[in-house]
């Protein structure tokens, strides 16, 4: 069984994010970048499926400028077998990403596609679902457990009311939640071996997909600073404030 894992290069979760002076975007100059943590979990899950003998090959794919090859090699060091880099200087939005992945799915014919449920830069939480709609593959989102069973996969989902398990016919799409697994650290030998694993480069044009953005960013601004709290004298005052000032009840 072949597993395709989509990974994204994002700003490192430790970095304090700053907005560019002209408010056009987040400032990424000289900022440390890393593999999106949800994508790391997706790679780990695929590698575990391979180690368990369920998967035979783990293919990782990423979209962006040449720099994303760093994250692809990280994914290879974690246990991916080969990588596909879709080279574009554009920053495609979720729908364009889903279309590109659809083209890769058509080429690679994986039985399972694993994605992070969202990327920590824009937190859209859209790509997996859009890929499901475009390909017609069943989807199990927000997975905290994945168990492949013959020609189907049981996905335990983290939903608002608790856990829900869905049984999906393969080929299927899974998006990962944080509790799915604890990703390993790449060992030194695997880091060096990853440099020799195959990494193919293709382009959106090769795949016949336009990456022109359909969503326009008007302005990016930092969240307003939280103002100081106030002490209330009584429960009645609290209820009054919640009702009339905060207007939440």
């Amino acid at each position: 069984m072949k597993v395709l894992v989509a990974v994204k290069r994002v700003i490192d979760y430790n970095v304090k994010v700053r907005v560019k002076a002209d408010q056009s975007d987040v400032d990424l100059a000289n900022v440390k970048m890393a593999l999106n943590p949800f994508c790391e979990i997706a790679v780990e899950e695929a590698v575990r499926l391979k180690e368990a003998g369920v998967a035979s090959e783990v293919v990782v794919v990423s979209i962006g400028p040449k720099a994303v090859q760093e994250q692809l090699r990280t994914a290879l060091a974690l246990g991916g077998d080969r990588a596909i880099h879709i080279d574009t200087e554009e920053l495609p939005d979720s729908l364009a990403v889903a279309k590109l992945l659809k083209a890769v799915v058509a080429q690679e014919q994986p039985q399972l596609v694993i994605l992070g449920k969202q990327a920590i830069d824009s937190d859209n939480n859209q790509t997996g679902q859009m890929l499901g709609a475009l390909t017609g593959m069943p989807q199990g989102t927000f997975a905290s457990k994945v168990a492949v069973d013959g020609s189907s996969v049981n996905v335990t989902r983290e939903v608002d009311g608790g856990l829900q398990t869905v049984k999906l016919q393969l080929p299927a799409i899974v998006t990962t939640d944080l509790r799915l697994n604890e990703p390993r650290y790449a060992s030194l030998p695997n880091i060096m071996k990853a440099k020799k694993k195959p990494l193919d480069v293709t382009t959106p044009a090769d795949l016949g997909v336009s990456v022109a953005r359909t969503v326009k960013v008007l302005k990016v601004e930092a969240p307003a600073e939280r103002s100081a709290g106030v002490k209330v004298a009584s429960v009645a005052e609290l209820v009054d404030k919640l009702k009339n000032e905060a207007k939440v009840i």
């Binding site: 650290y185 790449a186 030194l188 880091i191």
Partner: protein, 591 residues
Amino acid sequence: MSRLVAERDLEFLLYQVFGAEQLSQYPRYSDYDRESFAQILATAKGVAEDYFLPHFQQADAHEPQFDGSTVTTIAALKVAWQQFADTGLLSARQDYEHGGMQLPALVHMACNAYFMAANPASAAYPFLTSAAANVIRAFGSSAQQQLYLPAMLDGRFAGTMALTEPDVGSSLGDLTTKAIKHRDGNYRIKGQKMYISGGDQDLTENIVHLVLARIEGAPIGVKGISMFIVPKFRLHEDGSLAARNDVQLAGLLHKMGYRGTTSTVLSFGEQDDCHGYLVGEAGQGLSYMFKMMNEARIGVGLGAAMIGYRGYLESLAYAKDRPQGRAPTNKDPASKPLAIVEHADVKRMLLQQKTYVEGGLALCLLAARLVDDHEANHDEDAGILLDLLTPIVKSYPSYYGPKANDLAIQVLGGAGYIREYPVEQLYRDNRLNPIHEGTHGIQSLDLLGRKLWQHQGRGQKLLFQRMQATLQQAQQHSQLQPLCAQYGQSLQKFMHTVLTLGQTLQQGEVDKALANSAIFLDVMSQYVVGWLWLEMAQQALASSSADDPWLQGKLHAARYQIEWELPLAEAQLPQLQSFNDSWASMQRDWF
């Protein structure tokens, strides 16, 4: 930002000051590039933060226990050990053909920095094991290498170095542990060793002790000392465990700090059946051990610098967050208090720490770069300079690291004295470093009595050349000219003192010349670290913009080093040069 080390500093030192990327020009390191270094450092940081840091305080509060037969350590330590081994960090420096990764010493040192800052007591087990494996690799027979190394490098066996005895510490020439030749061709070891770190534990299925002992009939003194492999469990030829060897844990020692590392008294041959296997040639034990010691000494320097570094970051975070008091000119009691980082005296304590710990880290990375130049590029001069600097690399951080931790406690005030904050433990942990792997005093004798004059004084000549080269480059930045002038003049005086001391030694007045060796070590360290601060300042100026706060921090630390620390060192040159004997001439009854 990491709680363990400012990553921008580490990267600056690695790539800007010590040229890590150029190491890939050496054939041994040709597979490496900056991206692979970054990935390896990310693994080291991740394992240190996730598996070593969380039990830093727990390992201190729950020291290893001994019930008379077995030792018990906390569970988190076992997980940490396994992670360290599984990621390949134990064997990172070994050759490819031996299952290693030929990682440059410079990058390896940076990896280790994370572990030393996270949890030095837990990191001691893998570091000791790597060092012991290196000795067996260098001096063991091929049969010994095949038998012990694979298991030591994949984490099944640990290693120790067993030198000290209850009555023999710094003066190893007096050691009494015996090795008795047996008809099976090997030896039986008999004696006691003390303060053996990791001498017993429940992490690994076996422990390989490297024991110094005197073969029966061998001469007294250093020349009679040989090295033996003494495993806790003897091995079958296929490497599987055989009978328990006759080495017993007599007891655990209860330490001020570093409590997570077992410190043991070991009894060899109580039943006259402790099998020992000679390493290399008889009588060479101490020189073999020095191979391990020299590495261990750089490791001690790194540990001391990083424990200091962690304390600096902890106290800095506290100082930025803690509102207390107002500026001396502000008489309005209703005004908002300042964060204590705004008070001049707190700034002093933070800048002192910054200077000590960043200077100490730079020193250790310099040593690592010299190891690479020497071993991977056969640069003899690098080896000679490393030899000269090793006592300083060990001692400067060991002396100033605890001082930094002392200042960190002071910044926190009462909070620093209680166990809810980590700075008191950091201080206790760091207090070991001037003691082990050759005390501060021993290092100073090694420096002044030996290292300065080896190879016809080539080491000091190389050092002074490098200092002059830095001065020339730094002078091109107008901002650094006053510091360069002050440093250059002071350095002339120091070189003159070195000359005087050398002449006195040459005239055979050894006791007189060495009496103030510890002061000399401290003074020379300040000149070496002052040089590194000038180097860092000029590299920082060359690679960052003028309004960068990080650059301003570097320039102010360099200023502090040259304008405050260096004059303190210089002030002691007259006493050194005149062989002031205020303590040397004291008689025991006068105390």
